[in-house]
Amino acid sequence: MRCLLIEDYGPLRESIQEYLRGQHYVVDSSETGDEGLWYAENHEYDVIVLDIMLPKMDGLQIVRRLRERQERKVPVIIVSARDTVEHRVEGLDAGADDYLVKPFALSELAARVRALTRRGYGSHSPRITVGPIEIDRPGKSVRCGDEALALTPREYTLLEYLAMRAGETVSRTDIWDHVYEDSSGGSSNNVDVYVGYLRKKLAAHGCKSLLQTIRGFGYRLSADSFTEPEAEPE
């Protein structure tokens, strides 16, 4: 999942970024309003964490601009020191999906981010199940049948994104936009590399058939394509 963080206070911005990355989010960050809006309008994000009082353009203006222009409504959570009911109503009325008053626990912010991204993909459960694969989003762990699947953060993020869109063919560009940070460099060819790593780990647990390559389009994670591996002859 890819997240945009727009916060001008350095210590807070860096800490949120670090925490969300620890939760396997891909995080881009910006310290000014105009730069943040540029990121939001030119990249695909699963959630935006937004401060209100920002240099150059305030957070409420950013939300309004996004709601006016974007066809896909990216979930926005406002984090602000403005704590009155009027301020919260103003933020939500501007188009934000959630409002969190500073100071807050990072774990709460992460839970709200998870809830927003889940809703963004039409899911209401913190667990995603695709065939024998079960992803525990709060715990950031994956099980394949009865066995735990050990994944790197990048592989987890890739699998989580594909699982969120289970049954859909997801293009390399979409995967690139949602799984890779803007500053990470590289190209969408890297997607093939990580899909290869992921497929190999799935195959080790007999779930290789879950992840299909759709030639010319991208990849699809689907329970329909799952077939039980044949038992090896004794």
């Binding site: 009082m53 240099p55 100071p103």
Partner: protein, 478 residues
């Protein structure tokens, strides 16, 4: 202690005034009536005396009391008239039938001039009487008779003492009735005045009672709302209500100031607190080596230090605004204070490659004011300049004994924008990169400056120049 009561005062005051006035009026009226009736009685007694005296005459040489002959046994002029005559020569006496054979007290010295006097009748009643010496009358028939019989009358040798009296019992009874009527009337009027005053006061004070109910029913959120003055409120109570409303307006202003201050202070602290909490939460979220822990603790401390300063400044300002502590004016050198304030901003200014022009420390102008607040003020002005100067811009600070100026490059700001900069939660949006200050005063740094300036009695103006710079001018005299 007895609570003063308008109603009681009015009832007692009006009652006393009315009782005194009515008593004086009643006494005066009673006295007039009594005087009139007595005068009437005196006139009646005198008339009766003249009538009776005219009936003492000679008939064929003999002295007769004619009325006795004509009306023997019949009370003359009613039952209230009593009279008696005495012959001064023989002592012979004649009585009216009303005396029923009893004597009136004979007056001691009587002349021909009638004398009015009070006597007691034989029946014990008081009476008004007139005493006079009367000479028997000789009419024309008696003169003819005397001429025919060659008889000579000598009335002067036989004067008659006449006492005519009128029973005063009916008069006394009438006067008693008048007195009783006046007393009853006074009491009735007094009672009526009490009732009327009570009703008038009750009606007049009803709007006040409604106001009391309104005030008693107010909650914390409406405690300083203006009283709606009812149209029925008496004119006498309007000044008090208006004064109370003025007081409520002052209370409302003070509460708003407190709320705003709490809001500003809360905002001042929330963001750095969130930053520090996030750093520490990250630190304990995973096993780390000691060096990593130490580095994170240093980062938290770096947030804590300015936060601690902010708390001290806010508390200092709050205490002064609430009157809890007084301003403690001290003299100081402005360049020295500016230099101290700059130290905490130097790193941020270097990151933005800002050119700095500070006044020389030696022989700088001095100012006498509250030093901690002046430090906050200058620190916030410089922080604002660093935050809103574009990369590679400049900050120029000049000062003299009258004023301090902080000028910085700041493109894309209008005078209207800069005027709004003193409002809380307003972020300037200059053309530069911004966000380079300490981060601890975002949104309310200039608001705090304005509050401090008010407390210190200074004035602060911001102006935008054509060369794309902004100048904050702090005048040490408002």
């Amino acid at each position: 202690m007895k609570v003063p009561s308008i109603k009681r005062h009015l009832i007692v005051g009006c009652g006393l005034a009315i009782v005194v006035l009515f008593t004086l009026g009643s006494v005066s009226l009673y006295w007039s009536i009594q005087r009139y009736l007595r005068k009437e009685l005196d006139a009646t007694v005198l008339d009766s005396m003249e009538f009776v005296a005219a009936e003492i005459e000679y008939e064929e040489g003999q002295l007769v009391y004619d009325w006795l002959d004509e009306r023997q046994g019949v009370p003359l002029m009613g039952k209230l008239l009593f009279f008696q005559g005495w012959s001064a020569k023989s002592g012979e006496t004649h009585r009216s039938a009303t005396l029923d054979g009893q004597d009136l007290p004979r007056p001691p010295a009587v002349t021909r001039e009638p004398v009015l006097l009070d006597i007691e009748l034989p029946n014990g009643h008081p009476a008004r009487a007139v005493a006079v010496e009367v000479l028997p009358r000789i009419d024309d028939d008696e003169r003819r008779w005397a001429a025919e019989h060659r008889f000579t009358h000598d009335p002067a040798s036989d004067p008659q003492v006449l006492l005519v009296s009128h029973d005063m019992k009916p008069l006394m009874r009438t006067l008693f009735r008048i007195r009783r009527a006046l007393v009853i009337e006074s009491l009735a009027i007094l009672l009526m005045v009490g009732v009327v005053v009570h009703l008038v006061i009750k009606r007049s004070l009803r709007p006040l009672q409604e106001l009391s109910v309104d005030l008693a029913g107010r909650g914390a959120g409406t405690i300083d709302e203006q009283i709606e003055v009812p149209a029925s409120l008496p004119a006498e109570l309007r000044p008090q209500t208006e004064a109370f409303n003025a007081l409520l307006a002052r209370i409302s202003d003070a509460r708003k100031r407190d709320r705003d201050f709490a809001l500003h202070a809360s905002h001042e602290l929330r963001t750095p607190l969130a930053g520090m909490q996030a750093i520490l939460e990250n630190a304990v979220s995973a096993p780390r080596d000691p060096a990593d822990f130490i580095e994170r603790i240093h980062r938290a401390l770096a947030v804590l230090m300015p936060l601690s300063d902010s708390v001290s400044r806010i508390l200092h300002l709050a205490r002064i605004q609430s009157g809890e502590s007084q301003l403690a004016p001290e003299s100081c050198q402005l360049p020295e204070i500016i230099g101290e304030a700059w130290q905490s901003l130097e790193a941020a200014a270097k990151r933005k490659r800002l050119e700095l022009r500070l006044p020389a420390a030696a022989d700088g102008p001095g100012v006498t004011t509250d030093l901690p607040l002046l430090r906050v003020l200058i620190n916030n002005l410089l922080d604002n300049a660093v935050r809103h100067s574009p990369d590679g811009g400049f900050i120029e600070v000049t000062c003299d004994p009258e004023r301090l100026r902080v000028r910085n490059s700041c493109a894309g700001i209008s005078q209207a924008d800069i005027n709004r900069a003193f409002d809380p939660f307003v972020q300037l949006q200059p053309g530069g990169s911004g966000g380079g200050g300490t981060g601890a005063t975002a949104g309310i740094g200039l608001t705090l400056c304005r509050e401090i300036v008010e407390v210190l009695g200074f004035s602060l103006q911001a102006t935008v120049s054509a060369d794309e710079s902004v100048t904050f001018t702090l005048e040490f005299r408002a």
